[in-house]
Point group: C2
C-alpha cells in the first residue's frame, strides 16, 4: 500500500499522540521528505506550510518528539504518530498540548494550565 | 479567536478521538458548514473532498459519532473532537479505528482485528 500524497498537494496531515497517556498533542503536515527524516532519525519532522521548509519539531525548544509507533489510515492519506515527548510541552504557547482551547457553552475557552514559560524557551522566536 | 479556514481552502483537519479510551479513531475535514452542523446536532459531520459534499459520519452505517468535547489548536487551524462512537467501529473497512496499519520493521502491517463485517453494513456502497 502506497501513501497518497496527491490529495493535499504533496502533504499528509499527521496527528501526534502521547504514547503513554493517549493525549493528542498536535497536528502537523508531512511531505515525503519529512516522513523520510522522521523514519530515519526516529524524531518527528514536519513540513512547515508557512515557512515552506522542513522543520524538526523541537529544533528551537529542544522539545523533540521521539517516535514509538507510526500508523496510517484506511485511505492512506493521514498519519498517526505515537511519541514520547521530550520536555514540558509541545505547544509554542507553553502548553503540554496544542489543543488547549475548548468550546464551552458556545464560547472558546482555555481549558489547561501552562506547563512552561514560552518566552524563556523561545525568546523572541515565537 | 477565529478559526482559520483560509490555510486549506476552506477546510480544517479534524481529529476524532474516543472520549472514553483516548484512541484516535479517524481524521476528517470540516468546512464551516460541517462544523456548524456538528455543533448544532451534536453528531460529527465532515466535508467529503472526494464527493465534494457535506456528510454525516454514520449516515450509511449508523455508526455515528456523538460529540463530547470540541477543541481547537494554538494556530486555530485544526480541530480535536472527543466523541462517544456508536457501533463497533468507525472505519468502513470493518475496524474500530481507521488507523489499523502500522510500520513494523520497515513494512506497513495490519495491526488490529476487524470488529465487524463491512459488507454486511455497507453492502455494495463501500
Amino acid at each position: 500500500m502506497e501513501l497518497d500524497f496527491a490529495k493535499l498537494d504533496g502533504l499528509l496531515p499527521a496527528v501526534v499522540q502521547d504514547h503513554a497517556t493517549g493525549e493528542v498533542l498536535m497536528l502537523g503536515f508531512m511531505n515525503a521528505e519529512a516522513l523520510e527524516y522522521t523514519r530515519r532519525t526516529g524524531e518527528v519532522h514536519f513540513y512547515s506550510r508557512t515557512r515552506k521548509r522542513l522543520w524538526k519539531k523541537g529544533e528551537t525548544s529542544g522539545h523533540v518528539l521521539r517516535v514509538r509507533q507510526l500508523l496510517f489510515d484506511c485511505d492512506a492519506d493521514s498519519l498517526l504518530i505515537r511519541v514520547d515527548p521530550v520536555g514540558p510541552g509541545v505547544c509554542h504557547e507553553g502548553y503540554r498540548s496544542c489543543f488547549f482551547r475548548r468550546l464551552e457553552n458556545g464560547q472558546w475557552q482555555v481549558s489547561e494550565e501552562r506547563t512552561y514559560d514560552p518566552h524563556a524557551v523561545y525568546g523572541g522566536k515565537a
